[in-house]
């Protein structure tokens, strides 16, 4: 495994690029890419089954591509309520679905290999500007705090509801909207307080680093290069 965080993240990003470049409906190559991901996952001690199951969470987002099944012209393989389901449209939809699923697995695997602090280090090693890195760091840091606040607000709402009737979807959506609004105001307040805490410890608007990001070693570059050649070989039309 690569020890350099930046190269690990770079490898994950290039995997996504190669995956995105695969031709539509090229099932054998998509299978090879899935196999590659699972082998790497197994080698790193991560269960491919768990990765695959967790990544199913992206499926609803991929359904946005479902209209392709009806709108892409071509021969139909079936009819649904009088609308033809085209073969090229279905291939495109399935390819998008598989790419999204594999992409999510690659993302999860990278996140589990790096963890939060190393992910930030990786972004810094890949040259993300320090100001953007600070913003990402703050976002990740306060995601947990906002989640806890949301949980508390939800509990407080539930504690005051009678529980005797099942509220409508619309009523729930309206309440969630109100909570989101309160959360935004609270987040702005917290943002002010965090800024004061930064200022009180000397923050002067410039980003500073204790150490410059370390460059990869030759062996790590070689491993990265070999992985790229391997993915090129997998996606090449022989």
């Amino acid at each position: 495994m690569l020890k350099h965080s930046g190269l690990t993240l770079g490898l994950s990003v290039t995997y996504l690029v190669w995956l995105g470049l695969l031709p539509v409906g090229d099932w054998p190559r998509l299978g090879l890419f899935a196999g590659l991901l699972w082998v790497v996952g197994l080698a790193a001690g991560r269960s491919p089954l768990r990765l695959a199951a967790k990544s199913l969470a992206v499926t609803p987002f991929s359904l946005a591509a479902l209209p392709l099944v009806f709108t892409v012209p071509g021969p139909a393989w079936a009819q649904l309520a009088g609308h033809p389901l085209s073969i090229p449209g279905s291939e495109r939809f399935l390819t998008i679905l598989l790419r999204a699923w594999l992409g999510a697995q690659a993302g999860l695997l990278t996140l589990s290999l790096l963890g939060r602090p190393r992910l930030l280090l990786a972004l810094s090693q890949l040259g993300l500007p320090p100001l953007l890195l600070s913003i990402v760091t703050l976002m990740l840091r306060y995601l947990e705090v906002v989640h806890q606040e949301l949980t508390r607000m939800n509990r407080a709402r539930e504690a005051r509801s009678s529980g005797s009737h099942r509220p409508s979807w619309w009523w729930r959506a309206a309440k969630v909207g109100q909570i989101a609004g309160s959360l935004l105001v609270r987040s702005l307040d917290r943002g002010d307080r965090v800024y004061l805490a930064m200022k009180s410890r000397g923050y002067d608007g410039r980003e500073r680093r204790l150490y410059p990001p370390a460059p990869p070693r030759t062996g790590e570059w070689l491993a990265f290069g070999l992985a790229q050649i391997g993915m090129l070989a997998l996606s090449w039309k022989w």
Binding site: T137, R141, L196, A197, K199, R201, G202, Y203, D204
Partner: protein, 231 residues
């Protein structure tokens, strides 16, 4: 030595601090009391130059003004009430290193200061942990370490024991007792006041209405009731 003279501050038309004046000798541990909205947190923010009202603040012979701000912020370690406001980096190490880094210290010295500050609060093993993984008591300790690493002469603490269970509270009081720094502690916790802080200041409606020995304040039940310090 900390000297505050005729400090006044307005939030819009509301006068929050009115001619506040006091002195803290080196090494003094002083409680800052008062009902909610009395101006305690506002006063602490002034000591660090975060808020700037009218009047004069002198820390270790250095008058607080725009050009002395970097040195003043090094001398006054401000610890906020909610440690989640204080711990904004991705790891404990980065949070504790933040102040020394902005003091422009070399990397080796920053490392050393982080190690010493974490050792002082008994959190060395949490060095690489994320702040969100810490318990409430641990967060308070690390929040304290974030300013100890700057080696301040004055610690300005806002409600350090709020939200802590009895064991974590006891442990934090012992920790504060062991630190040699001058301290100004804003608190509603009269037990903390009695145990740790020899002197007390009472703010009410933005005015300093008492300064003296903690024992004298605690013995004066009528005064405590008048300023909302006991029910």
């Amino acid at each position: 030595m900390v000297t505050v003279e005729d400090l006044c501050f307005h939030y819009g038309s509301r006068e929050v601090l009115k001619n506040v004046a006091f002195r803290l000798p080196v090494g003094a541990k002083v409680g800052l009391l008062g009902p909610n909205g009395a101006g305690k947190s506002t006063l602490l923010l002034h000591l660090n130059g975060i808020l700037q009202g009218q009047g004069k603040i002198v820390i270790d012979g250095l008058t607080l003004e725009a050009k002395s701000l970097p040195q003043i912020r090094q001398k006054v370690g401000l610890v906020f009430q909610d440690p989640d406001d204080q711990l904004f980096c991705s790891s404990v190490f980065e949070d504790v290193a933040y102040g020394p880094l902005y003091q422009g210290l070399p990397a080796a010295e920053v490392e050393e200061r982080v190690s010493r500050a974490l050792a002082a609060v008994g959190m060395e093993e949490a060095r690489q942990r994320s702040s969100h993984q810490l318990s409430g008591g641990e967060k308070k300790r690390v929040a304290l370490a974030t300013v100890l690493s700057m080696q301040p002469s004055l610690l300005a603490l806002d409600e350090p024991t709020s939200g802590l269970d009895p064991r974590a509270r006891r442990s934090l009081i012992e920790l504060l007792r062991s630190l040699p720094n001058t301290m100004l502690v804003a608190t509603h916790d009269l037990a903390l006041l009695e145990e740790l802080l020899e002197d007390a200041l009472v703010l009410d409606g933005g005015q300093l209405v008492f300064q003296g020995k903690t024992a004298d304040l605690l013995a004066d039940r009528e005064r405590l009731e008048r300023h909302g310090l006991v029910a």
